[in-house]
């Protein structure tokens, strides 16, 4: 399933003094199975955009459509219209999703989505078990426990399993690692990457962490003041157009960011490097030459 965002605009409080243009004529295609990252400042429209893609908000103009493999188009969101059928194909994990856990047991909580989809109890449990396995948890071991007794990182994984249990083709995650410790952070990202590989589902990740985006994303969408400021693969966004990204106050991943600092201090380095190893090689090359 491909997601097509067509000339989408969203204005909050139209006609009032607080009128805000949260999205300004956004058009973008998201291919099936792609790992897309959306970056931008707080208030740049990231969350509004993913809520539109999930069919949770009605736009002011433009639309979001799902294009099936055979070319059939279904509207996800358009003024005056929202499609529940497609909404089920797009799962969204909100910020701090663990606050949405509410059931007595982990298994019941994960079953809630499939239950609402009208599946039989057997199917619900099957789905829940598979989803828990996807997030690296064993339903037999932990399914009977209260979700509130789990650690922060575990709670978050259960919440994500709750969305996966609805068997979405597109999984949206809005800052899924906020507030987690470094290990929890890495665990969640590796898990998302694995789910994308195993299930071949589309991942849309809203993130402030440029290192994660550089490492995992196929495509980066850069939002700025409600507009799509830039899009391309990490190398294009962070290396070729890194200076522009910085000009709107966004960070670079650690490697290119450090090379830029060195350049600003007068060291003659090539800043178009992305990974840690590339960065290290470039520094070694330049510093050894300089110190000879």
């Amino acid at each position: 399933m491909q997601i097509r965002v067509e000339d989408l605009s969203m204005i909050y409080n139209p006609g009032l003094p607080y009128e805000t243009r949260a999205l300004d004529h956004i058009s973008v295609d998201i291919k099936p199975g792609e790992f897309v990252a959306i970056i931008g400042h707080t208030g740049s429209g990231k969350t509004t955009l993913v809520q539109q893609i999930a069919g949770l908000l009605e736009p002011t103009s433009g639309r979001v459509v799902a294009v099936a493999e055979d070319g059939t188009e279904t509207v996800i969101s358009e003024k005056g219209k929202a499609s529940f059928a497609v909404r089920r194909k797009v799962g969204i994990v909100f910020q701090y999703p663990e606050y949405q856990l509410f059931e007595e047991t982990v298994l019941k909580d994960v079953c809630f989505g499939p239950k609402n989809q009208g599946l039989s109890e057997e199917e619900q449990i099957e789905r829940a078990k598979t989803a828990l396995k996807l997030v690296g948890m064993d339903a037999d071991e932990i399914g009977g426990e209260s979700p509130f007794e789990l650690s922060g990182g575990q709670k978050r994984r259960v919440a994500i399993a709750g969305v996966l249990a609805m068997d979405p083709e597109v999984l949206i995650l809005d800052e899924p690692t906020a507030g987690l410790d470094p290990k929890g952070h890495d665990d969640i990202l590796r898990m998302i990457d694995r789910i994308q590989d195993d299930r071949n589902i589309t991942i849309i990740l809203v993130s402030h962490n440029m290192d994660d985006v550089a490492e995992y994303a196929d495509t980066v969408l850069v939002m700025n003041k409600g507009s799509l400021f830039m899009q391309g693969d990490p190398r294009y966004v962070y290396c070729e157009r890194g200076r522009e990204l910085k000009s709107v106050g966004l960070d670079l991943p650690a490697g290119p960011g450090f090379l830029e600092d060195l350049q600003d201090l007068g060291l003659d380095v090539d800043i178009e490097k992305l990974t840690f190893d590339e960065t290290a090689e470039e520094i070694i090359r330049v510093v050894k030459k300089k110190w000879q």
């Binding site: 707080t42 208030g43 507030g179 929890g184 600092d261 201090l265 060291l267």
Partner: protein, 280 residues
């Protein structure tokens, strides 16, 4: 009393008694933790979720009292002081929490900052002076007449810090102050923390971000309620046995450069210092 020490944590254990059910096993959130903080020091506390970082922080201004052991703030035992004069402790040690929305009480920024000093009976012209000074320190003076709801997360957090500074504490404890902020907000808060430290205040920073901890004089690593390590950043980051830690970029880069014959000094743990070294 050792006047050099602002905080002394002596064999502190703490058990949360959550459900009142006697069959529930008592789990120690803190297990025999001891360390001191000198006046003017900048100490970072790190550790995984649930390691006891926040629990130890809440002991430093008597929000929690030890189940066993004792905490001395400027020589005052928090257990005794919490009965006689809890404000004496909180005047010495201010606290900034993770979520700025939970810390703001007024509908105007400057009223919010004045709330603390008003409560401890500071004279009104002195309050005015302290509020202005605190707002300038966090670069929010121009926003003093605004409603906090119109501010960004980072700005709100700066107001929360100004509110603590207006109490003129000797020591400020920051409990994951940047966890809910974007990178820009995080940088702003770290600048303010370093500014407070350079003014001579004692700073205790609880964080998951190792780049932030690298700026401290000392890092304390907590795990399962125990103090695992208490050492300067360079020593902490050179240890491979602390699984919860992400080594900062500058530390891994320095290591890589050393392996390739560039002799980076061992005490370089921040990007700023590493850049200065490479460009000298």
């Amino acid at each position: 009393m050792d006047s050099d020490l602002i905080i002394q944590i002596k064999n502190v254990s703490y058990a949360y008694l959550d459900d009142g059910d006697p069959t529930t096993e008592e789990k120690l959130a803190l297990d025999n933790v001891s360390f001191d903080v000198k006046r003017g020091e900048f100490v970072a506390i790190v550790g995984s979720n649930g390691s006891g970082k926040s629990t130890i922080a809440k002991h430093m201004n008597a929000l929690l009292l030890p189940t066993s052991g004792s905490v001395l703030v400027d020589g005052m035992d928090t257990k005794e002081a919490s009965e006689t004069a809890p404000w004496e402790i909180r005047r010495k040690v201010g606290m900034v929490f993770q979520n700025p929305d939970n810390q703001l009480v007024s509908s105007v920024v400057e009223d919010d900052v004045a709330f603390g000093p008003e409560n401890i009976g500071v004279p009104s012209d002195e309050i005015r002076r302290r509020v202005d000074e605190a707002l300038r320190l966090v670069d929010m003076y121009e926003h003093r007449k605004k409603g906090p709801h119109l501010l960004s997360g980072g700005q709100k957090q700066r107001i929360a810090i100004a509110g603590v500074i207006a109490m003129d504490p000797e020591c400020v404890v920051f409990d994951e102050p940047t966890a809910m902020l974007d990178p820009k907000g995080r940088r702003e808060i770290m600048e303010i923390i370093e500014r407070l430290h350079s003014q001579g205040r004692t700073v205790i920073l609880i964080t998951h971000f190792m780049e932030e901890a690298a700026a401290a004089d000392r890092i304390i690593v907590m795990g399962n309620g125990k103090l695992l390590v208490d050492a300067p950043p360079a020593d902490v980051f050179s240890r491979d046995d602390l699984g919860v830690l992400n080594v900062p970029f500058a530390v891994s880069m320095a290591r890589k450069l050393r392996e390739n014959g560039i002799d980076v000094p061992a005490d370089i743990v921040t990007e700023k210092k590493l850049a200065e070294f490479l460009c000298r």
